[in-house]
């Protein structure tokens, strides 16, 4: 498809969508959002890019193949559960720490890392389906 309007709009939108997807990923623990939703938005952003510019530029923009994203996501999710095992707790037990940033403080823990894994798997799966379908 070669639509100037779509291509121009996509250039702006993809940045916003990707930022929004990461934003949703990280706010998910306290407000609506999370890895699954964030991942779907991220995948949607690249799907839009693929519709506007074609599959090959999208793969180039993505840098990593969707399959690598899937593997990385699963790996990160597992890795987030391992520290607990090393401390003799059941696999995937959450470990938390509080980080102070000036006047604000936030909790950072292994479940957030787990959510990043979910995020990557969702992006990888959705894109591996849409991109390979579009390629045909």
């Amino acid at each position: 498809m070669n639509s100037l309007v779509l291509q121009t709009a996509t250039r702006f939108l993809i940045t916003l969508l990707l930022l929004f997807s990461v934003f949703l990923l990280f706010r998910g623990h306290n407000y609506p959002g999370g890895g699954f939703i964030g991942g779907l938005i991220g995948a949607g952003a690249f799907a839009l890019y693929a519709i506007a510019f074609g599959v090959r530029p999208t793969r180039r923009a993505l840098r990593l193949s969707p399959r690598t994203l899937i593997a990385a996501g699963l790996g990160i999710a597992v890795a987030s559960g391992l520290p607990a095992v090393l401390f003799g707790l059941p696999f995937l037990t959450g470990a938390w720490t509080e980080v102070h940033l000036g006047r604000h403080s936030m909790h950072i823990g292994t479940p957030l890392i787990f959510d990043v894994g979910v995020y990557l798997v969702v992006i990888g799966v959705t894109l591996s389906i849409t991109l390979s379908l579009e390629e045909e």
């Binding site: 998910g28 623990h29 306290n30 407000y31 609506p32 959002g33 999370g34 890895g35 699954f36 939703i37 779907l40 938005i41 995948a43 949607g44 799907a47 519709i51 969707p66 399959r67 899937i70 996501g73 699963l74 999710a77 597992v78 559960g81 003799g88 059941p90 696999f91 995937l92 959450g94 938390w96 909790h107 823990g109 479940p111 957030l112 787990f114 959510d115 894994g117 979910v118 798997v121 969702v122 990888g124 799966v125 959705t126 591996s128 389906i129 849409t130 390979s132 379908l133 579009e134 390629e135 045909e136």
Partner: protein
Amino acid sequence: MTLPAAVLSVFALAVAAPWLSRLARGAAGWVLAILPTLLVVQLALLLPRIAAGETIRQSWSWAPTLGVELSFVADGLSVTFSLLILGIGALVLIYAGGYLAGHPQLPRFYLVLVAFMGAMVGLVLADNVVTLFVFWELTSITSYLLIGFDHDKVGSRKAALQALLVTGVGGLALLAAGLLLGGVTGSLELSQILLQGDVVRSHALYVPILLMVLAAAFTKSAQFPFHFWLPNAMQAPTPVSAYLHSATMVKAGVYLLARVSPVLAGTELWTTLVATTGAVTMVLGAVLALRQTDLKLVLAYSTVMALGTLVLLLGLGIEQAVTAAVVFLIVHSLYKGALFLIVGVIDYATGTRNVTRLAGLGRAMPLTTAAAVLAGLSMAGLPPLLGFISKELIYEATFGLERGALIFTTAAVLANAMIVAVTGLVAVRPFVGRPVPTPRPPREPAPSMLIGPLLLGVLGLLFGILPALVSPWLVVPAAASVLGRPVELALTLWHGVNAALVLSAVTVTLGFAGYLAWSHLHGALARADRLLTWGPAGWYERSLDGVIALAEVQTRLLQSGKLRYYLRTIFAFAAALLLGTLVWRGGWPGVDGLVIGGEGAYEWTLAGLMVLSTISASRATSRLAAITSLGVVGYSLALLFVQYGAPDLAMTQFLVETLVVIIVALVLIKLPHFPQRDPMPRRAQAVNLAIALAVGAAMTALMLAVLAYPIPTHVSEYFASEAYPLGHGRNIVNVILVDFRALDTWGEIMVLAIAGLGVAALVKLRLSARAREIER
């Protein structure tokens, strides 16, 4: 390193093996052998404590609520096995580096072989029956992958599947037996179970437990009538045959029998079943070994004979027999591992393993010949090798029996005599006489392929001359673990002239005569082929064919290949099940479940929109219109979620709905654009409508029926109150997903990943098919 860490470190090495293999290239085998060697040293350092009667038990928590622990025990039996597994494993890894040098799949080979090593060590050290089962199945799976290593050959694939099916069935029996034992004794830890022998033996479930343990042990250790899979497994590369199908994995069944002896052995039933099966297997294996001309198959059947001997000895269960079993276990692993490796060397160097086409290799391959002679002397049971001591012990055990001494001794002498003849075939015949032309001129192989056979052969000699090296450290503690009581014993090479020595002399004479008359014997056995191959192998083939035929029939009956019919079947069945259950079991919702009112204009509008777009979807003439209409249904549902305060659900629904429309639209664009080729007949439309209405009614009734009951709230209340204190998150849905129920989520993303890869692979498959068409 603790025992769990030791076992898991081997698996870590397996994961790293492909990288190491690429990094270290030709030296990969040597590098990979480092860890097993270190573990051998570590376990050997435990021997003084174990010999003093101590057992070392270390455990990591795995699934404590289920009683499943990653617990391992180092006692005489498990350490003896572990030392053999790790020691021979290290040598086999080094050997494989030479044997498979330059093979493109070598990294994969290392991965699976090292993973097998981990599984096998885990199996023999495991204290928990569930852990034992998991490692047991892991050895079956890695063995499957290794037998089928040359997966482009039909024979390899068939043999791999056969081994997997036979040993897999046994594995299931083992799980059942283990759980029953747990139920009877109240513990899943073997160290606890083994203390309750009298409880188990007098329990009503004793017979089922025994039969299932035997099913597991006999399939794994290739006992009659399951012996047929082991020779077929020789399709594997020779290092695998040497390691899995001779020295270690096939002994897992023997290990199991030895391990459970304190609780299951000693009854009439045990002695009858185990000893008889062992004796039959022993004689049958020896006969079949003489019938072969392929050196590898000769060794495979002689391994069947050896496994039969071990099972026979454990079946007899008396102290002499158990001691003989332990010594024979060690000596057999040493000489048979060596001989398999030597056959691999011969095959590698000359290009053939056919015994009738080999002679006079001695001059060209002196070191190989030396190793073969050492291993062969041990196999034939000649002094001063450990094999001699072992055979003397076997004869003492059978000869000293109160009942059946004559039968079992005769069987043992016959089988051993045949094995002496087999030794001549394997370790003498190829090396003596005038050299004959072979496909490749013979020459000595690389050091990596010689160190294994030589070291194993020398150990057989060393332990024979100095039995005190193994007797107090391995044999006595291992026999004590099998018998469940301390054992007094000192192995000696020379016993004086006694019955066993006379029997030995008879054996060797008979065996030598058999070797000289081998070509006649072989001819006679070949004529009896029909009789010898009758039986279990055929039953296996026929039952497998039966399963496939059944699958074909039901596929033809049920699989039309048309999506439309599948959907119709699924939906009709779902509706029938739901409605049927509701009517039968009396869950039919009353009218009081149906509360109308409280909904505002907003809800009614959305509901109306959903109904309208459903109708429009079903009446749409173009596919795109239908998909878009369905998208409207999804969006309306998402809006309802918003209305009822479920923003996460709503967002997910919106996104999924959008992506579904995108994906389906992408598929639709590719579909051929023909007008409805087969307009659906009126009757089919009516049937579809009826099914659709039935599904709708069933779901509605189900929802109402569910709502009629008070919803239990303690779980949701727990999540609501603990989400922030425990999970540090105010979004309960997210906290449940990534913290409280993270394991479920992990399973889900795993499924998602598999589905995604599957779809991509399917699309790619069609792509490449089309690419081929275009090329033509």
